[in-house]
Amino acid sequence: MTTTKHIEMRNVRKGFRFFTLEDLSLDLEAGQIMGFVGPNGAGKSTTIRLLTGLLAPDAGEVRVLGHPMPEAQAAAKQDIGYVADEMRLFPNATVGWHLRFVASIYPGWDESYARTLLKRFNLRAEQTVKGMSSGEQMKAVLLLALSRRPRLLILDEPTANFDPVARHEVLSEFTDVLRDESRSILFSSHNTLDVERISDRIAFIDRGRLIDCRDKEDFLECWRRIQLQVPSGATLPEIPDVVSRVIDGQFVTLTTNRFSGETLSRLGDSVREVHRMSLEEIFVANVMHHREACG
């Protein structure tokens, strides 16, 4: 039996006047949470709009839940919960009206889960959308997406307007979704703390190009910052896969993306400290390395 990938992007290109998304290939399997990380203007939202059928690629292929996009977007969106930071509900309608409206469209609507989320997110059904804060509105949009029980959640900066408590509540809900292994999440953000907390696979994008994509643990295991003390006149042994080198007198800080025991044995006694890197540090180092390599 073959399982359909939830997201398949092959050599996708999308050009605008001042920006081009180039040669993007990305896969997301069922049961995965992929963190999609990039600086502002990197192409995260463009990628997500291609996945939701709002944009059509100039070249390449986009398939979501087995459906070609944007041609079969209506069918694909039956099983996609798409939430973007910029989304707003009908301002003059109440939360309750939206709940009834969405419930009437989706056969898989989970009424009891919707009621639970309503309480957990501290929302009231009789609230009119225009009287809600932007954070509350985003919670309502998330509630409407989560209660459909979609197979694929596509989230574009969903926690941007949240305070730390709200962010914690929402991220917990995302991980709960994955208890059902037939579901998956693509989570775009430039908040690496959120991404590190919930993702099991991470893709870095910068200036319209995918620069790295692998399991979170791979990133955390392979990237290290090594502090060395090199006596004056001595030369450092050649270390492959050094992405940055900062020299301050006798002290040298190396950042590597392929750390192993062999790296340490090559460096020998000069090693003073080895630091694990946070996802944010890995992200910044990765982006800077990519930019230097591209000129």
């Binding site: 709002l54 944009l55 944007p70 209506a74 969106k77 509900l89 469209i105």
Partner: protein, 223 residues
Amino acid sequence: MNPLTRKLIAREFFMHRWMIGGSVLAGLAGLALVARGGLMNFNIGFLFWLTTIVAFGVVVAMFGIATERKERVVNWVLSLPVAHGTYVRIKVFALLLCYSVVWLVLSAAAIGLILALPDLPDGMLPYAVLLSAFLLGNYAFVVSSALHLRSEGGMTLVVVVHNIAITLFMFAIAAIDGISHFMRGPVATWNSAFWTVLVIEFAVFLFLMALPFLIAARRRDFI
């Protein structure tokens, strides 16, 4: 028509229900003033009737399309299982339905008033029919523009052109001999001049209503 399409059309109607009711009442109030007789009442009442139909058309198109896009509500609607082409069809159909209620009631009431009042010559009927048909076409122009123009400046220009067009139309139609000659007559004259103008109006209306579908079919990016 699938259930989602039906629900979205019904939603549009539901959202504008107060504006539809208010506009019908305001337009009828204008016609009631005309019914009181006298030139002053006719002028004020007619202006009120005309302004109500025109303003409703502009406001409903702006609220239903331009504001929905500006406030990013459209982003949420398009997260539902609906394609762009369907969204455009829903908007055109739903907004036309909303406008039709106001337009039909007020146009029919105006024609009824001409027939009922002895002070108003029945010769005005062709003029009233052509003016009403023009208002429908002019509304189609605003809806079609609102669906495709992204800039506020562009929409402001559309509204200005839309308003000026009504005045120009009234002057132009009154200058057509085959229509103006019979306007003050005791009976309505449905001559070739009338039918020619009506057919042109109908063709323009159909073209403007079809334009959003043609553009949506060719458009690759929606947001």
